[in-house]
Subunit: 278 residues, 2 copies
DNA sequence: AGCTCTTATGAATCATTGA
DNA sequence: GTCAATGATTCATAAGAGC
């Protein structure tokens, strides 16, 4: 039996009540600089690192030694330039003791529209992977993908509604009907995740599609483990954790977000069937 | 009439003979840390920034005020961690006066194989875009891509040799037969470039596929402009520049690479027809 | 031509061995 | 101890053979 709980407050404070090493995986998409002004006061880019570090110190303490910390983030462009606070954050986290193990790329197929004279639409975000040790828990087989030439052969007789499309060969295989492929030869994915942003039918800004935390939860935790999202927002990470048989803990400064996350991660919520049939 | 020339020597020295502002675009893939030991002696990661900065100072001087500098690079993983010298290089280049305008992602479809306990195969590289001013030359229309639904319809009756394949919808459209699409509705690409590494039939390591410099040359220069590759290697950038009607200048420390680049960029080389029919 | 099959090979990374 | 060299692992392509 797994549990989900949502805690209200600043994760830097709330986590102080947690036992050291009590969390197996942290997956989060923190408030970006100058965003979510209502809840976090809109952290200025220049102060982002100093705002982040005391919180990541608690992440380090509560994370198990073989655990992983996955940080989904992307620097904004302002006044014609990319900000450097994410680069500085990576350097600062290493000084705090984290190992910068890998940088995964989330390639957003349908990214935000727009047109500017000096840049194209931004179609990718960083998923920074930090660990405490060089050896950590990694279930590579849990995210394997059908091999390339199968997709080739299959493509020639595809109908328009075949959901597979570009998911398979190109990338890490977030095709929804991946279960059909289990008898095919499988290959390991790469460090580029290729999936669409979720078209949110709820009335809040969808941070990331559920497939994103799902992938990392399958990869870096076992069933029965505990997954933490210290900036839980609308609760996508908790919902993914619950559906994969992991215990979920979410924290958020906003009472409104906490309520929403709790509703979505509650197994007997009124909209369970609707969600499962997605 | 455009020209191509290849100069032998260290770009930091050779460029001192160039007039300020005489180059419109710099596209290069420098030797990565600890790679290409035979020619560059394998720059150690710890000294990469100090090795790079005097050379990029010359890049800054010879680049026109509305020009661009595109740097293709990727940090290596060693002892379980990603190195940070590329992050430090970005910060150092900004201190040198460059604007870090954008970071494009080159998504390599066929990346190097391998299996390790702590990471997947690396399928992407950075294409860092630096400029001297906030307003610079950018021909967005030159790299437009056919829109999704047409590519969708087309895909259903594709033969294996139809070059389009996954290029179109997913990404920035490096399909070779883009000329066929001119009457189609077009869209602007994103900052994720999606193309395969070139399997080189020459006896040297192919740095990047020709489509990569082609894309940036079309985007950030006009016909008749001058394109510089200060680490020209096998000469892919020069070949792309010549075929797009730009003047090309290549520099390399290795006499062997210089000869190769010169042969490939020479319009009346013996293998011209073979190259054009590719 | 067009298709299928085989083979070679990469801007790689890690564990192991030996000096 | 540290450091350099070697082997194991892996898959999307191109190129070539055969039909």
């Amino acid at each position: 039996m797994t549990t989900s709980q949502v805690l209200h407050g600043d994760c830097g404070e709330v986590l102080k009540t947690f036992a050291a090493g009590s969390v197996n995986l942290i997956v989060t998409s923190p408030p970006y600089a100058d965003r979510r002004k209502s809840t976090y006061g809109g952290i200025a880019p220049e102060h982002y690192v100093e705002w982040f570090l005391p919180r990541s110190a608690e992440f380090f303490r509560v994370l198990a030694d073989d655990g992983s910390f996955v940080l989904n983030i992307k620097e904004k462009a302002e006044n014609g330039e990319r900000h450097t606070y994410v680069l500085e954050l990576i350097l600062a986290l290493r000084r705090q003791g984290w190992l910068w193990t890998e940088e995964y790329i989330w390639h957003k197929r349908n990214c935000y529209p727009g047109k500017w004279p000096n840049r194209f639409r931004d179609a990718w975000e960083r998923c920074l992977h930090f660990t405490k040790q060089r050896r950590f828990k990694m279930n590579q087989e849990a995210v394997m993908v059908p091999m390339g030439d199968w997709a080739d052969a299959r493509l020639k007789r595809l109908g328009k509604n075949d959901v597979v499309r570009f998911d398979s060969q190109v990338s890490s295989g977030f095709g929804k009907n991946i279960a059909n492929w289990l008898d095919r030869p499988m290959a390991y994915p790469t460090n580029v995740l290729h999936l669409a942003t979720e078209c949110s039918n709820k009335n809040h800004s969808a941070a990331f599609p559920q497939a994103l935390p799902e992938w990392f939860i399958k990869l870096f935790s076992d069933p029965g483990d505990t997954v933490l999202d210290p900036f839980v927002g609308s609760g996508t990470t908790l919902k993914a954790a619950r559906e994969l048989g992991r215990n979920g803990i979410g924290i958020d400064l906003s009472r409104e977000y906490c309520d929403m996350a709790e509703a979505r991660s509650e197994p007997f919520a009124y909209n369970l069937e609707a969600e499962l049939s997605e």
